[in-house]
Amino acid sequence: MIRSLERLAGCAAIILAATATISSPKASEYPADYAQLVAAAEKEGKVSIYAPTDPAQSKALMDAFNAKHPKIKVEWNDITAQALFSRIISEAAAGQVGGDIAWNVPDMQLKLVSMGHAVPYESPEAATVPEWGKYKGIAYATTIEPAVIMYNKTLTSEDKIPKTHDQLLDTLKNNAEAWRGKVATFDPEKSGTGFLWSRNNERLWPDFWTFVKEFGKVGGQVYSSSSQFKEKVLSGELLMAFDMNGAYAREWAKAAPNLGVIAFNDYTQAYSRVAFIIKDGKNPNAARVFLDFMLSQEGQRAVSNAGLPSVRRDVDNGNDIDDINALSNGKLKPIALGQDLIDDFDPKTRTTFLARWKRELGK
C-alpha cells in the first residue's frame, strides 16, 4: 500500500517536473531489409560478448536472445571491467580481436570509443534510447543504475536514514558517535565506479567537499567492490553505505530481509551500462543483431527482470527508468554520455581530484 502510494507520488512528480532528462518512448523502426542482416548474422553463427556481468543477468540476456535467434550462439566472457579494457586494447594491437560487443561501465566505454576501438552503428532501436544515453551513434546506454543508500534494517530504522544529500551531511555531523566507523562508500582511489560517483557528486552537490570532511571525521569507510559492501551491511559491520549500485542493492534486499534500500530525494545520480560494437570483431553482423536486441523492448525486459533496470520507459515490469525515477522522487539524474566522461581520464584532473579527496578526508 505504502509502496504504491510512493509510486503514485513518484509518478506525479515526474509529470510535475516535466522532465527534461527523460524523453518519451519512440517506436523502433526496423528497415525492410533487416532480414538480410539477420541472415548474415546467422551465417556468422556466433557473437562474442565482453562484459563484467553477474551470471544471473548475462544468463537472462543470453536465453532471451537465443529464443529469438537460435542460430546465433552467444559466447559470453565475464571479465572484470579493468580486464575488459586491457583485453580490448591488447587484442586490437595484436590484430587478434576476439570480441564483438563490449558492455561495461560508461566512462571506460567512452574512453575506448575515443581511442577508436568501437564502430558506429545506427541501431533501429536508437530512437528508444534517451538522448543523454547515446554517444555519436556509436555507444548506447542500456541500463539505468541509480546510486542508493543501503542500510541494515535490523540495527537501524528507516527514519534514521538521511533522505537527501544535505541530510546525509547533517546526520554525520550531528550524530557522529552513532555513525563512527559504520558508514561507507566506494573508494574513488581504488574503484572506477567510486571515482565516477564522487566526481559527479562534486558537480551536483555544492557541499560535497564539506561532506567529505565530515565523512572523514566519523571514520567513514571506503571499499572497492560491491560484494564487500553487501557483506558488511548485511552483517551489521556497517550500518549504512551510500552511493551503492541500486540495481544490485534492490536485488539483494529481495533475498536478505535485513537489507533496506532508499534513494535520495534531492537528486539520485545514475549511470548506465554502455554497449558498443568492437572494431574489427569477427562477427560484425551478429554484433549488430545482438546490439539491436539489447536495446529492444524484449532484450531490455529480460535484463531488467534479472535485475538491471531498463533505460526504456516501455518495459513496464516494475524495473524500468520510470520506476527508478519514481524511487528517486522524480529527481533521477542520469550521467549523460558525453565528452565530460572522457575528459575525466585526464591524469591531472584525476590526481587533483583524488589529492583533494585524501586531504579533505584527513588521510
Binding site: S48, P52, T53, D54, P55, A56, S58, K59, N77, D78, I79, T80, A81, Q82, A83, F85, S86, R87, I89, S90, E91, A93, A94, Q96, G98, D107, M108, K111, N152, T154, L155, E189, K190, G194, F195, Q221, Y223, S224, S225, S226, S227, Q228, F229, K230, E231, L234, S235, G236, E237, Y248, A255, A256, N258, D344, F345, P347, R350, T351, L354, K363
Partner: protein
C-alpha cells in the same frame, strides 16, 4: 664422452626451454616498466617515468614498509609452527596423526580471497564467533582488520607451505640417525634440535624464502583484512595505481612488480649461500632404513594435540566454517538468527549458468591432468639441475622463483600478452593449454622444489654404483633415481592439484569463453557482488578438493610422502 654429450644436450635443452617459458612473461614486464605507455602502443617511449612516479609517491614507501613487515611476520609465525607440525606428524607417535596429516594441508586448498571471506564471516566485527564472544565479554575482544590481523592469519594459513616441505624432508631421514642419538641418552627435544633440525634445514630455508615471496605477492588477504583498516601492501597499492588513472597504467604496475622482483635476487642469493654445501644433507643412503617414531609421553601428547587443535581451529575451522555457513544462508550477522535464513538458493543459482558449470569441469581437468603434466615438466627440470655443477646450474634456482616473485595478476596479464602477441602461440590462447602452461610456470616454485628436495636426498653412492655398472646418466635416472623418488612425485602431484584448484590470479586475463576457471570466475564476480554464488562456489571447491584427497587416500596414495 658420449655420456657427457647426452647430459649436456639434455640439460641445455631443458634450461633453454625453462628460460624461454619464464623469461618471456617476466621479461615483458621488465620491458613494460621502462615505457611511458602500453608496450604495444607505438607512441610509447623508453624512460624512467614509471619508476620516477612510484619513487616520489609517499604511498609507495608506506606500502613497501608494510609489505616487508608483513613478510617477516608471516615467516616468523609460519616457519616455526610448520616445522613443529611436520616434526610432530612425521617423527613422533602423536595420536591421530593419520587424520591430522591431510587436515594440516587444508588451508592451502583455499584461495586467499576465499579464506578472507571465511574469516570475515566467522571472526569479523559481526562474525558468528565474534558475536558469541561479545555475548560473553560484552565486546568483541579482537579486530581482524589491520596489519596485526593480516600477519596473524597470513602466518597461520601459510603453515602448510612450510609443513609440506619440512615433512617431506623429515620423512626421508633414516631413523637410525635419531635412534643413534636416543641411545646415547638424548631427549626428544635434543634429538629434534641436533639431528632432525639440521637435516631439515634446507627444506626450511626454502620454505622461508617461499613464504617471503608468497607474502610479497599476496593479494587476497591484504585486500580483505588490510583494506578496511587502510593497511596497504605493494600488491594492493598496484590495484590503487590502476584506479588512479581510471584505466590500467601498465608501466606503473610493471614498475612495482619489478621492485618486487629486485627484492627476490638477494633472497635467492642468500638461499644459495646457505645451501651451498647441500652434499651435507644427503640422508637416503644405500642402506634402506625406515622410520621408527619418537615416543611422546601423555603430557607431551596433550600439549602437542592442544597446540595442533588451536592452530586447526584458527586456520581451518573458522575460515571454512565461515564459508560453509555463508553458502547456506541468505543473511547473517548482528541481530540475525541464521537458522531462520537457511537456504539452498545459492546453489540453485549456480546450476542455471553454463559458464559456472564449465568452470568447475575446466578447473578439475586443469588440476588433475594439468597437475600431472606439470609434475612431469618439473621432473625434467629437476633432473637437469641434479648433480650439475655447471655454469648455468645457478640459473635454475633464479628462474624457478622469478614467476612467484611477481604479483599473480601482473603475471596473468603478462601471460595473456605472450599468448596474444607471439604468433606461434596464438592458436593456443582460447584453449586450456594456454592456462596449463601459465599455471605450470606459476606453480614452478612449489612443485619443482619438492622434487628437487627429494633428489637432493638420494645419495650419490647409488648413482655412482649404477654408473660403475655401465649405465648412462639417462639410464641411471630412469632406473635408479626416479623410482626412488616416486613417492615424492606423487606427493608433488597432489600438491599441484591443490595449487591449481585454488589458483585465481593467473586466469583473470587469460580465460575466455569455454576456458573459464573457478578461481578467476570468483574474481570476476566479486565486483558485482554475487556473494551468495561466490560462497556456494567456494564451498564446492572445498568439497572437490577434500573429495580428491579422500579418493587419493583410498587409492593408497600416501599424501606428501
Amino acid at each position: 664422452m658420449a655420456r657427457a654429450t647426452e647430459a649436456i644436450i639434455f640439460r641445455g635443452t631443458v634450461v633453454a626451454a625453462l628460460a624461454a617459458a619464464v623469461l618471456a612473461p617476466v621479461g615483458l614486464i621488465i620491458y613494460q616498466s621502462f615505457l611511458s605507455g602500453p608496450f604495444f602502443d607505438p607512441t610509447a617511449t623508453v624512460g624512467w617515468d614509471a619508476f620516477g612516479f612510484i619513487f616520489t609517491d609517499p604511498d609507495f614507501y608506506s606500502a613497501f614498509g608494510v609489505t616487508v613487515i608483513f613478510a617477516i611476520g608471516v615467516v616468523a609465525i609460519a616457519v616455526p609452527l610448520g616445522a613443529a607440525l611436520a616434526f610432530l606428524l612425521t617423527r613422533t607417535d602423536l595420536i591421530g596423526r593419520k587424520i591430522l596429516e591431510p587436515l594440516a594441508l587444508v588451508p592451502m586448498f583455499l584461495s586467499a580471497i576465499v579464506l578472507g571471506f571465511g574469516y570475515t564471516v566467522s571472526l569479523g566485527p559481526s562474525g558468528l564467533v565474534s558475536l558469541g564472544a561479545e555475548r560473553i565479554f560484552g565486546f568483541v575482544p579482537w579486530n581482524i582488520y589491520g596489519l596485526g590481523g593480516l600477519i596473524l592469519f597470513g602466518g597461520l594459513t601459510h603453515v602448510p607451505h612450510v609443513y609440506l616441505y619440512a615433512s617431506a624432508a623429515m620423512r626421508n631421514i633414516a631413523s637410525d640417525m635419531e635412534e643413534a642419538a636416543r641411545t646415547t641418552g638424548a631427549g626428544i627435544w635434543q634429538v629434534a634440535w641436533h639431528v632432525t633440525w639440521p637435516l631439515t634445514f634446507p627444506a626450511l630455508i626454502f620454505a622461508s624464502m617461499l613464504n617471503v615471496l608468497l607474502a610479497f605477492e599476496s593479494f587476497g588477504l591484504p585486500l580483505i583484512l588490510g583494506d578496511p583498516a587502510g593497511t596497504v601492501v605493494l600488491t594492493t597499492y598496484i590495484y590503487k595505481l590502476t584506479a588512479l588513472l581510471g584505466v590500467p597504467s601498465y608501466q606503473l604496475m610493471a614498475a612495482v612488480a619489478v621492485v618486487l622482483l629486485a627484492l627476490t635476487f638477494p633472497l635467492v642469493f642468500i638461499q644459495r649461500r646457505l645451501l651451498a654445501q647441500s652434499r651435507r644433507y644427503v640422508t637416503v643412503g644405500g642402506k634402506g632404513a625406515r622410520a621408527t617414531r619418537i615416543h611422546l609421553g601423555p603430557t607431551m601428547q596433550c600439549v602437542a594435540l592442544a597446540g595442533v587443535a588451536l592452530w586447526l581451529l584458527l586456520a581451518v575451522v573458522f575460515p571454512i566454517g565461515g564459508i560453509v555457513v555463508r553458502a547456506f544462508v541468505s543473511a547473517w550477522g548482528r541481530g540475525i538468527n541464521i537458522f531462520e535464513h537457511l537456504t539452498l538458493d545459492n546453489f540453485r543459482q549456480l546450476l542455471i549458468v553454463p559458464a559456472l558449470a564449465r568452470s568447475l569441469t575446466n578447473t578439475v581437468i586443469l588440476a588433475v591432468v594439468g597437475g600431472a603434466i606439470a609434475v612431469g615438466a618439473y621432473l625434467l627440470v629437476a633432473l637437469a639441475g641434479h648433480r650439475w655443477r655447471g655454469r648455468f646450474s645457478s640459473a635454475i634456482d633464479y628462474l624457478v622463483l622469478l614467476p612467484k616473485a611477481l604479483p599473480g595478476l601482473v603475471v596473468g596479464l603478462s601471460f595473456f600478452w605472450v599468448f596474444l602477441f607471439v604468433p606461434a602461440l596464438q592458436p593456443l590462447r582460447p584453449t586450456l593449454i594456454s592456462l596449463l602452461i601459465a599455471y605450470t610456470i606459476v606453480g614452478l616454485s612449489y612443485g619443482f622444489r619438492m622434487i628437487q628436495a627429494n633428489l637432493l636426498q638420494v645419495s650419490p653412492d647409488l648413482e655412482e654404483a649404477a654408473r660403475t655398472a655401465g649405465a648412462t646418466t639417462g639410464q641411471t635416472w630412469r632406473s635408479v633415481v626416479v623410482p626412488i623418488i616416486r613417492p615424492g612425485l606423487i606427493g608433488a602431484w597432489t600438491m599441484m592439484i591443490i595449487v591449481f584448484l585454488r589458483e585465481y590470479a593467473t586466469g583473470v586475463y587469460l580465460m575466455t569463453n569455454g576456458t573459464e576457471v573457478l578461481g578467476s570466475m570468483i574474481v570476476s564476480m566479486i565486483a558485482g557482488g554475487s556473494v551468495d554464488m561466490i560462497a556456494a562456489l567456494s564451498f564446492i571447491s572445498i568439497v572437490f578438493t577434500l573429495g580428491g584427497f579422500v579418493l587419493a587416500l583410498r587409492l593408497g596414495v600416501r599424501v606428501n610422502e
